[in-house]
């Protein structure tokens, strides 16, 4: 029940878009979330696995079997689409029983299995209803039941929650996870919602311009992003270009920062990452000068309920702060252990800017 992409490349005819050199494995029972900006190729990945596009190079294995040249209907993969795509002319149980019907299961048995599958998503009493009489969340649950009823080799989720209300989305995350864990199959979950990816994925793959730029567990991805692009895309981030002045000292637009510079040579360029929630806001400037303390002026102050997001102007730099204190903020302290150095942004090398 595992899925493997081996050096898969695919380019859309007549364009430069596509996916390139994809090497990826999803283990049995694992949920791999794929995120990336639109056009990054994450949906293409799903199309290739489902069989709606054929790779130009490389191969795709499901359970160790090469499926690269198989038609979509021969792959036995359960796919849940963004638009639910329930068949409007069939009742719910017939929708769910359809994969069994095309496999020649006798009617009595497929009805029973469809009813069981509907019961697992809590919709047994709606079996005879038409899809259009259901809410979006209910339709999505039926689509999930339908995609799993024939014990597919893998589950593919194509932005399954993006058509739902925000309030419904959180409940559906848990629901999908529960059903996926119950089925215990490899799952590829494509989404543009990074919060969804971090909360649901066993691992998260970040795509950019058709390439996988990092595949890691959610916490690792957030705490130790491999590059500036990943750091900027996953969660909120302070990212400052800087230069390693000496071991343990980095100079940025804010001034000098004390931090661990292991792995970076003095004189080399770097990119400094600090997550806004790890910046410590201070109501007033401490009496004695302390390292990594900067004072400035609040330029933006957004109250979001549980958190407050402010921007502090420090010289020509900007510090993004996420906090729950409500008093005025005059300065910030950046704990050295909150600072993470990333490889320098290649574009910054050309402009030479220290933003």
């Amino acid at each position: 029940m595992s899925v493997r992409f081996e050096n898969v490349s695919f380019r859309y005819p007549g364009s430069t878009a596509g996916v390139f050199d994809i090497d990826l494995e999803i283990a049995t029972g694992e949920l791999l979330a794929v995120i990336g900006p639109s056009g990054s190729g994450k949906s293409t990945l799903l199309k290739l696995l489902a069989g709606f596009a054929v790779p130009d190079a490389g191969r795709i294995l499901v359970d160790g079997r090469d499926v690269t040249d198989l038609e979509p209907h021969e792959r036995a993969l359960g796919v849940v689409f963004q638009s639910y795509a329930l068949f409007p002319h069939m009742s719910l149980w017939r929708n769910v029983a359809y994969p069994l019907k095309v496999r020649g299961t006798p009617k009595a048995e497929r009805r029973q299995r469809a009813l069981d599958a509907l019961a697992r998503v809590g919709l047994a009493e709606f079996a005879e209803r038409a899809p259009t009489s259901l809410s979006g969340g209910q339709q999505q649950r039926v689509a999930l039941a339908r995609a799993l009823v024939f014990s597919p080799r893998a589950l593919l989720l194509d932005e399954p929650l993006s058509a739902l209300d925000a309030a419904l989305r959180h409940g559906m995350r848990d629901e999908i996870l529960r059903v996926q864990r119950g089925a215990g199959i490899a799952t590829l979950h494509v989404t543009h919602d990074q919060e969804e990816a971090l909360s649901m994925g066993d691992r998260v793959a970040v795509m950019h311009a058709g390439r996988l730029i990092q595949v890691a567990a959610p916490r690792e991805l957030y705490d130790r992003p491999a590059s500036r692009t990943v750091a900027a895309f996953v969660g909120h981030a302070n990212l400052w270009d800087g230069e390693v002045r000496a071991p343990g000292r980095v100079v940025t637009r804010l001034g000098e920062l004390a931090c661990d510079t292991a792995g970076f040579e003095p004189g080399g360029r770097t990119c400094v990452l600090v997550r806004p929630e790890q910046v410590v806001p201070l109501a007033e400037l401490p009496g004695a000068a302390r390292p990594n303390v900067f004072y400035g002026r609040i330029s933006e102050d957004r109250f979001l309920g549980a958190v407050r997001r402010c921007d502090l102007e420090v010289g020509s730099g900007l510090v993004r702060i996420e906090t729950n204190i409500r008093t005025a903020i005059a300065a910030v302290s950046i704990p050295p252990e909150a600072i993470r150095l990333l490889p320098p942004d290649p574009t910054a090398l050309h402009t030479g800017s220290l933003s």
Binding site: E71, H73, R75, G78, F81, Y98, P99
Partner: protein, 254 residues
């Protein structure tokens, strides 16, 4: 309200007069005919050229509907499922061309091509049917295409594929059941157009393969009552075809 009544009157008056004329004994230089008779209908029914034309029209309509269906369903499906927007747009333009072209031009085209030594088929009923297919196909195609777009048929079909359905199952279980309403609605339109079609039929029909409307024209050189009766027959034929289509559509829906 008054406008509606006037409009309905305007719409129905010719039909009412035709109906009246078809049962009137004589109708010359008076506002309304005088006397009552059923002999005009009897004469139309007994007229061999009208009998032949009636049968020809039925054959042409039936053949046109069947051919249209066989061509339009796969064609519309292919256009709809085509991934490229450009292909879709081009296909739409090409299929709509016969609507934009005056039928007279189409008719002359048929005459030019099919009176040549290589293709000497002018006057055959099959050429007539072909012409009717050309004229009616775009209407059916358009109805099917808009319905397929509305249903998002391509997406439903992709889902069915992932669920394990091969092409034949997808076509029979998903595509056909979903488009049956628009297919029937389209076939009603096709029948109505085919029954009343005059311009091309008049140009290319042979002496023995005239459709009803062409023969009808001849009737107006004779007795008024006869002409009225013959026209009413055409009207009833058209209404029956539409009603038949509508009833089939309702039966299919139930």
């Amino acid at each position: 309200m008054l406008a509606t009544i006037l409009y309905l009157l305007f719409l129905l008056a010719p039909i009412a007069l035709l109906a009246l004329g078809s049962v009137g004994e004589t109708w010359t230089n008076t506002l309304l005919p005088s006397g009552f008779t059923g002999r005009w209908y009897a004469e139309v029914a007994a007229d061999p050229s009208f009998q032949r034309a009636f049968l020809t029209s039925l054959k042409v309509v039936a053949a046109t509907c069947i051919l249209d269906m066989l061509i339009a369903v796969p064609l519309a499906y292919a256009i709809h499922a085509s991934a490229r927007r450009g292909v879709q747009a081009a296909a739409r333009v090409v299929t709509l061309l016969p609507v934009a072209t005056p039928e007279l031009v189409l008719g002359f085209g048929f005459i030019l091509v099919f009176s040549s030594d290589w293709l000497p088929w002018l006057g055959s009923i099959w050429l007539l049917i072909a012409a009717h297919v050309v004229v009616t196909l775009p209407y059916l195609l358009n109805i099917l295409l808009s319905d397929m777009g509305h249903l998002r048929l391509d997406e439903l079909e992709r889902v069915a594929a992932t669920l394990g359905a091969p092409f034949s199952s997808r076509f029979l279980d998903i595509v056909l059941p979903l488009i049956r309403h628009s297919l029937l609605a389209g076939l009603i339109t096709v029948s109505a157009i085919s029954i009343g079609e005059f311009q091309i039929s008049n140009l290319i029909a042979g002496f023995l393969s005239r459709t009803y409307p062409i023969t009808l024209l001849q009737a107006f050189y004779g007795a008024t009552g006869f002409a009225c009766a013959a026209t009413i027959v055409l009207l009833v034929l058209a209404v029956l075809a539409s009603a038949g289509g509508a009833l089939t559509a309702r039966a299919a829906r139930g």
